[in-house]
């Protein structure tokens, strides 16, 4: 209920911005909120955007549930996609049945490595993981651009002299099949939903998942109970990064068929929003990712309909985050609303409390 209010609140503030911008918010929001659901194109494209969002969100959930904030999914997506792409290009003659899972595995490992670094820094040296993951995002981006402009550039770009920073096309046998003809909807969404169920089972039905949640809920108590807190933190970040890495690779395998700049497209941050909105629950993340996928697509449609820059979607997502964390206290403390609006009592009253 509060979550619905959070989205409505964010959209209202967004409407206010639209009015200031001189646009008709009703027309704009109609394009944004109805567009994604009113056609085959809209629905399938929403699902296309849902896929990386959900994968990133699953990783975020594993990390947050273990008490470590992973803001580095953008970079982990890039490194994962970079590793997977390099692998697939290195073995173009392998059979798809081997190459496809191996490529996804390599992307998972690449993302896991990139996520493991801040996990290790946190566990061993107490480095704030938010700052280190943000820095690693910037580093990953520069690394990816370096490889795309240099060692891994499509030979055609070099010979034509165009120099667009992208790799050559991946061998056809690793492309993910399309679920519906004449759409971009690919198998990625099925993989992502399957993994959401697996993450749920992992976190709530295995002892390792239980330990990770215990570390997230009460770190010192978990340590006291003999759990290897540091190792669990590194593992959580590595798993988290691995999911982001897969998200990047599946974008490549399902849509672009080559690695290019802009592969992460803000999914790393939007995935955080989807994870929070899904109550940090793997199954809750499914509808949440669908909702924010629709919001992202809707923003593109709105841009075409009323020439409002799609950047507003990042603003609205930021507002959703603020509303969700800001209203959390009303859930944690049912009496908070009354207290907030009650007149301040004199300090003396506190003696008895």
């Amino acid at each position: 209920m509060i979550l619905v209010l959070a989205v409505i609140g964010a959209l209202l503030v967004g409407a206010f911005l639209l009015v200031i911008a001189g646009a008709n918010p009703i027309v704009a929001y109609r394009a944004m909120l109805v567009g994604p659901f009113s056609s085959r194109y809209g629905l399938t494209e929403t699902l296309v955007k849902t896929t990386p969002l959900l994968l990133v969100a699953l990783g975020i959930i594993i990390a947050f549930r273990s008490g470590i904030l992973n803001i580095g999914a953008e970079g982990q997506m890039m490194i994962g996609a970079l590793c997977g792409t390099a692998f697939a290009l290195a073995f173009p003659n392998l059979h798809g049945a081997i190459l496809l899972p191996a490529t996804i595995l390599v992307s998972f490992l690449g993302g896991a490595f990139w996520g493991g670094i801040p996990g290790w820094l946190k566990a061993k040296l107490n480095v704030n993981e938010i700052l280190s993951t943000i820095m690693l995002n910037s580093i990953a981006w520069q690394l990816m651009i370096y490889f795309l402009r240099g060692p891994m550039i499509d030979p055609k770009e070099r010979s034509y002299g165009t120099g667009v920073p992208q790799t050559q096309q991946l061998p056809h046998q690793v492309w993910l099949g399309r679920l519906l003809p004449r759409t971009r909807l690919h198998w990625g969404i099925i993989i992502a939903i399957g993994l959401a169920v697996l993450v749920y089972i992992f976190l709530w039905r295995t002892s390792l998942g239980y330990k990770m949640r215990a570390v997230g809920a009460q770190k010192e108590a978990a340590r006291y109970a003999g759990m290897p807190v540091e190792r669990l933190l590194v593992l959580a970040m590595a798993l988290s990064g691995g999911f982001a890495g897969m998200a990047g690779m599946i974008e490549v395998l399902g849509i672009h068929h080559r690695l290019m700049d802009g592969i992460s497209a803000g999914y790393g941050f939007s995935g955080i929003v989807a994870a929070l909105f899904g109550q940090l629950h793997p199954l809750g993340a499914i509808p949440a990712s669908f909702l924010f996928g629709a919001l992202m697509l809707g923003a593109d449609m709105m841009q075409r309909a009323v020439a409002i820059p799609a950047a507003i979607v990042f603003t609205i997502q930021g507002l959703v985050v603020l509303f969700v964390v800001g209203t959390d206290i009303f859930i944690r403390r049912p009496d908070f609303a009354q207290r907030l609006f009650r007149r301040r009592r004199p300090a003396a009253r506190k003696e008895g409390a």
Partner: protein
């Protein structure tokens, strides 16, 4: 191939750029220092800086006055600080995540407004350098230290000013008390909420000003992602500087010199892929955090909301 970097003129250029580029770090980090000293961890600095950069630029573009631009950046900073304070102090939200929310909000809004209100690359007439009479004539030192615009001088003046406020005034004592033992401060009649609101708002105003420096005192134009992570680095600098103005100033100069060095490497066209010098400040941030984070002391109540009624 790095021989060009050792040319005296280039060295002076790098140092002068370094002194100048310390300004956004100083403004944002000294501001964030107040917020963190009072116990609030504002990670939204980057978003506030983006909004400061845009609003300063846009107001200057439309009015022709960079002074109004800075004023706008300060106001926007105050409003965003108020929002952050409301969420993290009054609503007691998780500060790491709300900071990320504020970042996304500010970053997205700046890009949105730029496309909507400007939409093309253009430059503004920002602040001009004011060579300090006499001092700027000193060979080498004059160019490095005394030939900058007022925002640069102001940011360096803030080092002793913030030190004095934090360590020599009653208010500074209250700020430090609130950041360590809010319960005790509250018992002694200090309003924890008011101190925290004030500190977060001051910090956010300085972050807005840091953003305005980038568009009005440095590049004289606005571009997407013009802050390039400097807001986050500023937060890291507060750790690096152990929550003291002098430590923060040292860190700011270290980072700005690295920043200047990587800019000059690009300008001189030294033949290494430009991605690597661009990476340098981010790599340095991680190294520095790894070196300083193990040490123990930090404001004990940092990141912990205070609830009078338990």
């Amino acid at each position: 191939m790095f021989a060009q970097l050792l040319h005296p003129d280039v060295i002076i250029g790098i140092l002068a750029t370094g002194v100048r580029l310390a300004t956004p770090f100083l403004l944002a980090a000294l501001g964030e220092m107040f917020a963190q000293r009072s116990g609030v961890y504002n990670l939204g600095v980057e978003g506030v800086m983006m909004m400061g950069a845009f609003s300063g630029f846009w107001v200057t573009l439309t009015t022709g006055s960079p002074w109004l631009g800075v004023l706008a950046a300060l106001l926007i900073g105050a409003v965003m600080g108020l929002l952050m304070a409301f969420i993290s102090v009054t609503l007691q939200a998780e500060q790491g995540i709300s900071g990320i929310g504020l970042y996304m909000f500010g970053w997205g809004l700046a890009g949105f407004l730029f496309r909507l209100l400007v939409g093309y690359v253009t430059s503004v007439d920002g602040f001009h350098d004011i060579p300090l009479p006499g001092l700027s004539r000193i060979p080498v030192l004059g160019t490095v230290f005394f030939d900058h615009n007022w925002m640069v001088y102001f940011s360096y003046l803030l080092i002793p000013i913030t030190w004095y406020i934090l360590f020599k005034t009653t208010w500074g004592l209250k700020v430090r008390a609130v950041g360590v033992t809010p319960e005790a401060a509250d018992t002694l009649g200090v309003s924890v909420a008011r101190i925290r609101y004030t500190c977060v708002i001051i910090g956010s105003m300085l972050a807005g000003m840091a953003g305005a420096f980038l568009t009005l005192g440095h590049t004289n134009m606005y571009a997407d992602n013009i802050t390039a992570g400097r807001g986050f680095i500023a937060v890291a600098l507060v750790y690096f500087g152990r929550w003291t103005p002098l430590g923060i100033a040292g860190g700011a100069l270290l980072f700005s010199t690295v920043d200047a060095l990587q800019l000059w490497i690009q300008v001189l066209g030294i033949d290494i892929p430009y991605e690597f010098p661009v990476m340098a400040p981010y790599v340095l941030t991680i190294i520095v955090l790894a070196l300083v984070s193990g040490r123990i002391w930090q404001p004990a109540a940092l990141g912990r909301p205070f609830d009078r009624e338990g």
